[in-house]
Symmetry: C2
Subunit: 217 residues, 2 copies
DNA sequence: AATATATACGCACGACCGTTCGTATTGTCT
DNA sequence: AGACAATACGAACGGTCGTGCGTATATATT
């Protein structure tokens, strides 16, 4: 009589899945989706290996659930707070600052989850890669829209049909470079360079200095 | 009587090492330094597993040799041809174009070798990571010097002490973003965006349009 | 109350991992 | 010529991987 999805009974199981996934996203952000192993995960979570296996069915399903969990954490850390800002340049600047904070504060132990697993996944050809591609396109749509909504405050971008796309590409590039640099060199220099580079870019496009004041090291 | 390094006898062994390493760099560029396995490598090379093991001593030494081999291939593909260009903006533009070609033509099967293995290695704490950090710093020194030698042709960069460093960071960021994008999305769109972004950036800094004419999709 | 479902466990399987033996062969040096 | 070092191989080691099986328990549905 109830719907096919009967969550009532699965309260215990969902709690277990959530606890395992919280460890999984950190482990995957450090070692990639292949470095994510059921045995290590079970040991860290204090449960049996076969339990983790039955909870997620297969390794691939575990990877997919891990990616989805990381996506929700990312939304909570960056997307949702940015949407709380008002339209326009203020939101665009907020996205940049929130993203840099998301990377620098190590919401995931290995920095940005999606950059950490992209290298491993891009060489494969399974559902995990497809999901990551979809999430990446989702990000570009979100960021490009934020740029487009800032056009009135970025007069330098007028008359260029691909202006928003190029700027979204440049911003993403610098965010990723800051993330990678901080992981590889174990310093915060990349974050300062990204803030300086993006701020200069926005100022060159005619942004008001007050609007970009959030982007200072 | 001869030097301690007697390469004469090792001709056969060196040839074997080279053949294995040529496969190793491709495999590592696709699967990372951890995905590089002695068994698969031996199978692909048509030799025994124990042979590969004895040729390189240990897994770590194999990884280090693979990184060194990739470094030399990268130098041949990008650094050396760029140094053949004259000083200044021409060389800087050549570096960008050579790098994009190096990534797009898949000199390594998995795109840029160093970006592919950086994710896995940055979470570890061994000699492989140190070597990759040193190579990355080597790259930044090289690129920053090329920017500095272009200062007379980039008047927009005057008066900014950290100008060359920021520009080198931005260029590297866009090159990496093009590389990652082409691998994840399996399209060449990222390369066009990187060429457009870097060209616009150089033009905005006062570069002559002739000097950057190489950067067109 | 009876049945079905979802956790959770222990156990074992085949496969692959990196490493290490013993051994044969080849090339280099004294 | 003889001693020595470097390839190359086959075989086996302990370890971990993902997966499947049987079983016990707790919850939900009938």
């Amino acid at each position: 009589m109830t719907t096919a999805i009967s969550d009532g009974r699965r309260v215990r199981g969902d709690a277990s899945r959530r606890a395992v996934l919280r460890l999984a996203v950190d482990q995957a952000s450090l070692s990639g989706l292949d470095g994510l192993t059921i045995g290590t995960l079970a040991s860290d979570a204090g449960v049996s290996k076969s339990n983790v296996a039955t909870l997620f069915g297969s390794k691939l399903d575990l990877q997919l659930a891990t990616i989805e969990a990381a996506r929700e954490i990312f939304i909570d850390a960056v997307i949702a707070p940015a949407l709380a800002e008002q339209h326009g340049l203020a939101r665009l600047v907020a996205i940049v600052e929130l993203w840099l904070n998301y990377s620098e504060s190590r919401v995931f132990a290995g920095g940005c989850f999606f950059r950490a697993v992209a290298a491993d996944a891009s060489a494969k050809d399974d559902a995990a890669r497809e999901l990551l591609v979809a999430i990446d396109e989702e990000w570009y749509v979100f960021l490009t829209r934020a740029v487009r909504e800032s056009l009135p405050e970025l007069p330098g971008l007028e008359g260029r049909a691909d202006g928003p796309e190029v700027l979204a590409f440049e911003i993403t590039a610098m965010l990723d470079a800051a993330n990678i640099g901080s992981l590889l060199h174990r310093s915060t220099r990349g974050y300062a360079l990204a803030r300086a580079g993006i701020r200069d870019r926005l100022l060159a496009l005619g942004a008001g200095s007050a609007a970009v004041s959030r982007l200072v090291p």
